[in-house]
């Protein structure tokens, strides 16, 4: 199959996963869409650096991570993000789902970029510890400790949901 045809397929196959990763990293729906477009633009420019087509997703993700690095430090507008997510789904979303997403967004926002990145690669993108270590060029032990601490933080934020529900409701008005 010609490379152009393959690349076209990769757009269909991976743009959603890349978008989710970019979204949870940047906390901004429009910015995430821009980042994904930019990622594919850069990917085509450097298509010759793709050594193994079976590993195209990690390769795209590496480009995306580099592309979005400068955006990681932005202040995430959690309520706006959740509202945007629900409007994208063209549904009001159940309240409990909104609260859960809001909690998750806030918890991710509290994580440092390196912890958030590691957690997303593990929980969202489904990479193994070893693959994450290779992607981020860090020891596997560091990957494991980052994921463990990140999950602890999310768990603890989970337990304080009621206060956040109040905050969300007051902000939504």
């Amino acid at each position: 199959m010609p490379i152009k045809e393959k690349f076209s397929n990769w757009i269909d196959e991976y743009h959603r996963a890349l978008y989710r990763h970019a979204l949870w990293m940047t906390g901004d729906t429009e910015l995430a869409a821009d980042v994904v477009q930019e990622t594919y633009h850069l990917a085509w420019l450097s298509i010759k650096t793709l050594k193994d087509e079976a590993r195209v997703f990690p390769w795209l993700l590496t480009i995306l991570r580099r592309t979005t690095f400068r955006e990681y430090k932005r202040e995430i507008q959690h309520e706006k993000l959740v509202a945007d997510l629900c409007s994208l789904h063209q549904s009001n979303g159940s309240s409990s789902l909104e609260y859960e997403l809001l909690d998750l967004s806030r918890a991710l926002g509290m994580l440092s970029t390196s912890y958030r990145e590691t957690l997303l690669l593990y929980a969202l993108d489904g990479f193994s510890y070893q693959e994450i270590a290779e992607q981020m060029n860090i020891p596997i032990g560091t990957v494991m400790s980052r994921i463990s601490r990140a999950r602890e933080l999310i768990k603890s934020s989970d337990e304080s949901v009621p206060s956040k529900i109040i905050n969300f409701r007051s902000n939504s008005k």
Partner: protein, 199 residues
């Protein structure tokens, strides 16, 4: 929060429906620009390409042994056993061209007409105790004798190529142990009688 639930929540955001189309549209534009760039690359860089080709060609001329030297070398090998001295007709030809014959201490072993790359030439083989055997070719006319490189070594012989005047070129092949300055002196002796030798 359990890992499965975390995964479900992280998976919740859906990319905008138009995103794939936007990416593909951008990519098509990118492809178009690339194609345009490659189409105009030749136009923009034709002078660069031409200069590179010229440099390579000139380098070839410089580093390669000229074909005429190779032809002269073949002629030397072919007539290695010939020792006819200098005939009267050959002597007359040299006189008619205002070319002096070598000094008496340099023995003329052989003289003959020969063909180098299809052009008629004179082949003179001389011997001196000091410089060994030197083969000198005189050629009138052919422009291909004008080379960028005018000195070198072919097999076991050094060679010199000198354009004496517009219609006379001289080639000398000599033992590699002989200094090319000495060969030039010999040619000077033969050719400076009328002040034509350029060295």
């Amino acid at each position: 929060m359990k890992k499965e639930r975390l995964k479900q929540l992280l998976d919740y955001p859906e990319a905008p429906d138009t995103l794939a189309d936007q990416i593909r549209s951008n990519w098509q534009q990118q492809l178009g620009k690339q194609e345009l760039r490659s189409r105009y690359w030749w136009k923009r860089n034709i002078s660069l390409v031409a200069s590179i080709v010229a440099t390579v060609a000139l380098s070839g001329l410089y580093f390669q042994t000229p074909a005429v030297i190779a032809a002269a070398y073949t002629d030397i090998e072919k007539d290695a056993q010939l020792a006819n001295g200098l005939s009267q007709s050959q002597r007359d030809w040299f006189n008619s061209k205002n070319i002096n014959l070598p000094l008496k201490e340099v023995k003329i072993e052989m003289s003959k007409n020969c063909t180098l790359l299809g052009y008629q030439s004179k082949h003179l083989r001389v011997f001196s105790k000091e410089h060994g055997t030197i083969n000198v070719f005189f050629h009138e006319g052919a422009k291909f004798f004008q080379q960028i490189k005018n000195r070198g070594v072919v097999s076991n012989l050094g060679w010199l190529l000198v354009k004496v005047r517009e219609n006379l070129t001289v080639i000398a092949l000599y033992p590699t142990g002989t200094r090319h300055e000495d060969v030039q002196n010999l040619l000077n002796t033969m050719l400076t009688g009328n002040g034509e030798y350029p060295v």
